[in-house]
């Protein structure tokens, strides 16, 4: 799985961090999401898909 994060779209809701903490974090200076791992292992794939679905900014896309 390959994860893309569009930081320009991100509105810093933190939903992705709650959904997949191993893969997303938020920058200290403005809360914008950062990708910790753009190729997460299979056991995190569900969490990442969940993050992409609940992201209010549609900033996360996943290539399977």
């Amino acid at each position: 799985m390959k994860v893309n994060l569009d930081q320009d779209k991100c509105v810093a809701s933190g939903q992705c961090v709650v959904a997949a903490m191993e893969v997303f974090d938020q920058r200290d200076e403005d809360g914008i999401a950062v990708l910790l791992n753009d190729s997460p292992p299979a056991d995190q794939a569900d969490d990442v898909r969940h993050a992409a679905t609940v992201c209010p900014a549609l900033a996360i896309t996943v290539e399977e």
Binding site: V11, V17, A57
Partner: protein
Amino acid sequence: MEHGDGRQALSYPIPSPAALEPPVEWADLRRECPAARVTLPSGDEATLLTRYADVRKVLSDPRFSRRLNAEDAARIGDSESGGVFNGEISETLPQTGEEHQRWRRMITKWFTARRMAALRPAIETMAERLVDEMVEHGPPADLKASLGFPLPVWVICDLLGVDDADRDRFAYWSDTFLNLTRYTDEQVAAAQAEFVEYMTAHVTAKRADPGEDLLSELTTATDARGGRMPDAVLVATGQALLVAGHETTANMIAKMAGLLLADRRRWERLVTDRSLVRSAVEEVLRFDANAGIGMPRYIGEEVELAGTVLPGGTTVMCGMAAANRDESAFDDADRMDLARSPNPHLAFGSGAHSCLGQALARTELQAVLDVLLRRLPSLRLAVPPAELRRIEGLAVGGLREVPVRW
């Protein structure tokens, strides 16, 4: 269906059969008339969107402007409705584009998932104190007045570094800003002047002696271009957080209790399994059929949407609550499923203007629910659900009171 066929516009907002129920028309509108012509309380016309995909698209499309100040934009209310539609704040704070984004990003750092996790115990302590006071007075109690209304003000006061002793003043100011009809013009003007005076002095004090709060940080922080927030913007930001974060959350706490207690099997399920609190809060947000009139947007150019062409100069109403019941986005959309996941509802909007305080709102709702389940597992409505009444007012939907026993 007659809606939007050029003959008769539907009168908006559409009444509901009961306080917690959606209008029966929503399902038909989504199916047959996803861009319906409606008449707003002002008498002006707008186009109501009820499908999930359309609402989500418009909310995140920058061509649809949040400012309804164009000559031909619809007016919402028949009188000043206060709150989100009030001009004051929108005059001082940047509303669109890069400037808005810079303003927003200076604040969103305070609402990260990590900060919220750190804030959670303090919010639970506040909720516990309010529940203690409610219990002391004995049943029946109005859960909205005892818990829903004060808690979000306390949280915002903390965020702004305001003294505990001044919480009641903030509660009063917030109430006057939002309930313009309940107060005289003089009272509203006086509250506005008092608030600005208080906050201006408060900003000065924080600049001299910063604390750990958001406001202190904002007095010294610089934005992405190295700019600082002028005092007027700091004061307006404080007011924006109060106006946007108080009544919304207060009402949602009350509606959450109403929805979960109206069918007590929901409450019992949560009492036995508190691990459902997080998903239950999301489901309450999705299921809330009494969310106010939705978000208005104005489009200056012609666009294609919902299988039709909207001419330039159209005001659209994004019906988020109707969209949240869309079967094409949520299985069994009219059933409340406390374990629903994922739950990409639109209660906080979507896109660049989506709720800035959503992480905080979620944390408050989760904390309140957790404390209530723990402290008052026997909680129940003191009136039949059919007797719950909606508040007047357009912007934010709510219940007048939520009488409970335990």
